[in-house]
């Protein structure tokens, strides 16, 4: 926009940088490059939001977290389909039946699938990659797994079907969180 006073009704034209679409293109859109923002070619407005939450654990996950604090993995069993579910729930999503049957499953299992992450949650490159896996836990129904990290193993040595075991934080360090298990390591 031009500087200075503009008379009422005066055509002030199109501001610097706001150009019509490229000639010959019927598709609208004006691309902004990082350098355009750096150079001040276009204006932008910065804002940061800060929200704070306190999440309730719910009934089933609450029991799961209590179990983790005690160094054990809690599942629940549906009395209709007989599946042992991990993570546990108070309902079966397939039978839509109520569940109140709690069981311990083992802290050992099998790698269902894995990946190797070179970026963090904000897509920033990490100095060393983390290995992520879905681990099917022994004692749960076939195919029941949880997502967690793998440790004490090189990425190239991981394979689907690898036997693994949870590495727990010490009793004093455990606080009832998924991170009470530091990672799973090869068995």
């Amino acid at each position: 926009m031009k500087e200075g006073v503009v008379k009422k009704g005066q055509d002030i034209g199109v501001g610097r940088g706001i150009e019509p679409n490229p000639v010959g293109s019927k598709y609208a859109g004006i691309e902004v490059k990082e350098s355009d923002l750096r150079d001040g070619r276009y204006m932008s407005i910065r804002y940061s939001a800060m929200f704070r939450y306190r999440w309730d654990t719910g009934i089933a996950v609450g029991r799961f977290l209590e179990g983790l604090r005690d160094g054990r993995i809690v599942g629940s069993r549906c009395n209709v389909c007989k599946r042992i579910l991990v993570p546990p729930r108070v309902f079966c999503e397939l039978d839509f039946a109520q569940i109140d049957d709690w069981v311990y499953v083992y802290d050992t299992g099998r790698v269902n699938t894995y990946s190797i992450s070179y970026i963090d949650k904000q897509a920033r490159r990490m100095s060393s990659p983390v290995i992520v896996a879905v681990v099917e836990l022994d004692g749960a129904s076939q195919g029941m797994g949880i997502m967690h990290l793998l440790g004490e193993v090189r990425p190239e040595d991981v394979y689907v079907g690898m036997r693994v075991k949870a590495v727990w934080r010490s009793r004093e360090e455990r606080k009832g969180a998924i991170t009470d298990i530091v990672y799973f390591k090869p068995l």
Partner: protein
Amino acid sequence: MVIKRKVAVVGAGMTLFRRRMLETGKELCFEAASMALESAGISMRDVDAVVLGSAPDAFDGVHMKGEYLLDGAGGVGKPYTRVFVGGGTGVFAPIAGWWHVASGLFDTCLVVCEEKMSSLHPHPQYAFWGIFDHTLERPLGVNLLWIFALEMRRYMHVYGISEEEIAHVAVKNKRNALDHPCAQLAAKITVEDVMRSEPIVWPIKRLDSSPPSDGAAAVVLASEDTARRICKEPVWIDGVGWSIDSAYWTDRELAYPAYLAEAARMAYRMAGIEEPRREIDVAEVYDPFSYKELHHLEGLGLADKGKAAEMTVAGVTARDGDMPVNPSGGLLGVGNPIAAAGMMKVCEVFWQLSGNAGKRQVKKDVRTGLAQAWGDLMQFSSVIIMRS
């Protein structure tokens, strides 16, 4: 099932897809909607209802995006609603538009899909963090690519597919996109380029991935009477389907998208399609990552389980192949402004079936086309079957 009336696509429009655009979401909506209306030869006064599709609010940092985008999408003073099923939104929004008209409630419906992912810094990836379970998944430091890489690895393992085979999808789609005037990442690349590109979350590499984008796309839907009156080449929506699996994604077999097979069955049944492989002439399937195109072709029954890679390597899915898949260039080539990207696929099928796809027009005669999208926590799919 009683469907009261046939519904046609009578116009389509889209903006450029770019990493960052000057226009606000509202302005992008206005541009895409205006182009769709112009191509349908009608004005906003002729539109009875408006459906808006847009994905997570957190990209824009604007809560209740439906209301925020309303004015640019043309919904003022009309029955207006926003639908949202994550990445599946772009094909689900026109399904919602379809039932607005098929039910007999409205003669015309404008469907607008928009995404502006660039607002979030340093990277829109951070918004996806908020879709994970706050107690069991977020504390692990999860990002969205973790789970897609887990799915890709599982798919490779179960069917014995290599990274190189999967890379052919990226090569094909980015090349197809060279002919798309809105494309963000069109390129001539080789399988070796894909394999050499940096791993982001292995086995997903940089060139296996679609980019974050800004953009909008729109279609105008009309009832049969209206369509025949205003449009020389209406393209009929003959089948729609959608289905969702459990959000307990670690409890599912990731190698095969059973929910998509269910959505496809619904759409095929409605369209009277018994042999999809013979009857579907062109398909725009959701390809945010190269393996997803293969995964989806199998879920749609357009390839045998574990065989879509072979088909791709053999050139069957090329633009001049027997089963052209993503002749637009897909999300990998044109870009991935999430809801707008799915809608771009519906636009492409409309342009292909009406013979207006220009340089992207597939070689063979096309009468029946399919558009599909995928979303939420790797658990939802939406499918549309269209016929000229």
